[in-house]
């Protein structure tokens, strides 16, 4: 079973765009999440990331990332509530704890944890969308002249992690299929087996890379891919979001305070920025192809590469 975060080519704008444009677009959403603490803006950034993922067809990746993001956010909330005793509104007094001292759970600490958790969740969803929508090979090709080794490492990681996840899933299935009478397999043996398999695979990959001459200098890219017609759209949205975020920061759109009491600003600057950021999630929206337009003009040079089965079937039917 393929990992939900594994790259899957689809004929959607985000996948068809060049890696630079896709990274700029998703990076702008993540940048907003790191620049702002206001839950209003963070929710908007989260909505943008989810919307972008769904429009790009990465529903499963978004769903799984959301689940993980919510779990991580809850963990951050709980830890912050126990570790930070600041804030005026004490909800519970939990007495003296070893290492932590007096633990007072305050409303303010919970809200601060929520803000941090929301940021983590947004980053996770955006990373999931990137992982499932941006071709790692194309990223490698773009980065190779700049930082060949780093690009290779990053690409290998982005390839190997889904493979390891699929391995884990297969091993779990295999252990389940031994029948109800079999002793349960603990997480540690499973992790050991997974690590051993990953190391074997790493050796194989290293040998293959060696044979293909990856240790030599990076060759100049000969067959540069033509730019996608969606690039301009993603670059423009990324620039707009970033400029608005920086300007909003200067204008006080991040009007949010957690300690000593919670104050969430809902001024026009905050609401306008939140609306813009949320709308930026529509950037991967696919325009319906015009009927009169011939199929060969749909997406220029990438058409042949990313045609879906259904479009191929349609072409065959037309012939």
């Amino acid at each position: 079973m393929k990992s939900p975060f594994a790259y899957q080519p689809r004929p959607r704008p985000l996948q068809l765009a060049s890696p630079g444009a896709a990274v700029a677009y998703l990076g702008a959403i993540v940048a907003v999440a790191f620049l702002y603490s206001s839950p209003v803006v963070l929710f908007a950034a989260g909505a943008a990331a989810v919307l972008a993922g769904r429009l790009a067809g990465a529903d499963r990746a978004v769903r799984v990332a959301l689940r993980m993001g919510v779990a991580l956010a809850l963990l951050i909330v709980v830890v912050n509530a126990l570790v930070v005793s600041r804030g005026e509104t004490v909800l519970a007094r939990l007495g003296e704890w070893p290492l932590l001292g007096q633990v007072d759970v305050t409303f303010e600490a919970i809200v601060a944890g929520l803000s941090g958790g929301l940021r983590a969740a947004v980053t996770l969803v955006a990373a999931a969308v990137y992982s499932s929508c941006v071709d790692p090979d194309r990223v490698l090709r773009v980065l190779r002249p700049l930082a060949g080794r780093s690009a290779l490492t990053a690409t290998l990681v982005s390839r190997m992690v889904p493979v390891a996840a699929a391995d884990a899933s297969r091993l779990r299935d295999a252990s389940r299929l031994r029948g109800p009478g079999a002793a349960p397999v603990g997480k540690a043996p499973l992790a050991r087996r997974l690590l051993a398999g990953s190391l074997d695979r790493a050796v194989d990959v290293a040998a293959t890379l060696e044979l293909r001459g990856y240790s030599l200098d990076a060759p100049r890219a000969r067959n540069r891919r033509a730019r996608s017609r969606y690039d301009r759209r993603f670059y423009a949205v990324a620039a707009l979001v970033l400029v608005a975020a920086i300007a909003g920061k200067a204008l006080g759109a991040d009007d949010f305070q957690t300690y000593p009491s919670v104050e969430i600003g809902l001024g026009p600057a905050t609401l306008a920025l939140a609306a813009l950021v949320a709308l930026s999630g529509l950037a991967p929206l696919r325009r319906r192809p015009r009927r009169s337009q011939p199929a060969s003009h749909v997406d220029g040079p990438q058409r042949g590469l990313y045609r879906s089965k259904s479009s191929r079937r349609q072409e065959v039917a037309r012939v």
């Binding site: 930070v84 005793s85 600041r86 804030g87 005026e88 509104t89 004490v90 909800l91 519970a92 007094r93 939990l94 007495g95 003296e96 001292g101 007096q102 007072d104 300690y259 000593p260």
Partner: protein, 297 residues
């Protein structure tokens, strides 16, 4: 079924343990009133003075944050600014916020200092170029004597002054212990020649960096020091001193002294709120108190 019952028993036990450990929902019950004072320049400039009802969960920081606009650093444990007055360098001298509870410098941070009710919390913004450690101050009188947590011992050889000191303490409802009880807050009363043999009192001769007291004795003269620790004024021979210090982080030791018996008597008669309120230490000259350190720079 058994597992469910086990979980229920474990939950009940956990809740019982939490309740026994003094845990509960909400901020807890009222524990009494706490006096919150905020000043600047060694107490010379009043900023805030309020009596507030404290709850079980209240800390010094929570109390302050409820009354003033506070900016913190390092995870909320360190006060950076109060009502916009922030730590800074002024002409090369560092200024910062310090706090005292019942006239004693706190060994722990404001966020960890839990209040029991009845305390006097004093925040002061001051120059700490001479010392950042003033272990005890007199400005929260009648604290620390009124807290009833420690016995109060008056060590005195000068009859008229002793009576005045005892009277002042008893007037505030303090039971003065007889003899030399252990772990007592000591009040040393006598001329400087009599007191300088005491290890805690002798810290005054070693300067503000050791004692936290901006005063010194030069023969028969009491010398007032400025914020920089430099001599700023020599007082008349009959000028008394009321100051507090502490040795090795122990309980505060109050010093009621002067060069002459008349000076000690004058200092003893100044043990009241009118003379001591919001001062680190005072020099008492003809019934009039002069706050120390002196404004000199």
């Amino acid at each position: 079924m058994t597992g469910r019952r086990g979980t229920a028993v474990a939950t009940a036990l956990l809740l019982a343990a939490l309740a026994a450990a003094g845990c509960g929902l909400g901020p807890g019950a009222d524990v009494g009133d706490v006096r919150l004072t905020v000043t600047r320049e060694f107490g010379a400039v009043p900023v805030l003075d309020r009596s507030l009802a404290a709850k079980e969960s209240d800390t010094v920081m929570r109390l302050l944050e409820g009354e003033a606009d506070v900016e913190t650093r390092y995870g909320g444990g360190y006060v950076h600014s109060i009502d916009g007055v922030a730590e800074e360098q002024r002409d090369g001298d560092p200024y910062d916020w310090f706090f005292y509870v019942d006239g004693v410098e706190s060994p722990i941070g404001a966020a960890e200092y839990e209040l029991d009710g009845g305390e006097r919390v004093w925040w002061d913004y001051r120059d700490w170029s001479t010392t950042n450690h003033v272990p005890a101050v007199v400005g929260s009188w009648p604290a620390p004597f009124a807290d009833e947590q420690h016995p109060v011992a008056v060590e005195c050889d000068l009859k008229p002054a002793c009576g005045a000191v005892r009277q002042a303490l008893e007037g505030e409802g303090v039971d003065v212990a007889s003899g030399e009880p252990e772990k007592a807050i000591r009040v040393l009363v006598g001329t400087w020649d009599q007191l300088r043999g005491d290890p805690a009192a002798r810290l005054i001769e070693e300067g503000p960096a050791e004692s936290g007291v901006y005063a010194d004795f030069d023969g028969s003269e009491l010398v007032g020091l400025d914020e920089g620790g430099a001599p700023a004024r020599s007082f008349a021979p009959d000028t008394g001193l009321v100051a507090a210090t502490s040795r090795y982080g122990g309980l505060p030791v109050w010093v009621v002294t002067g060069a002459t018996p008349a000076a000690v008597r004058g200092a003893a008669e100044a043990l009241d709120t009118e003379h001591l309120r919001d001062h680190y230490a005072v020099a008492v000259e003809n019934g009039k108190s002069t706050p120390l350190p002196l404004e000199g720079r």
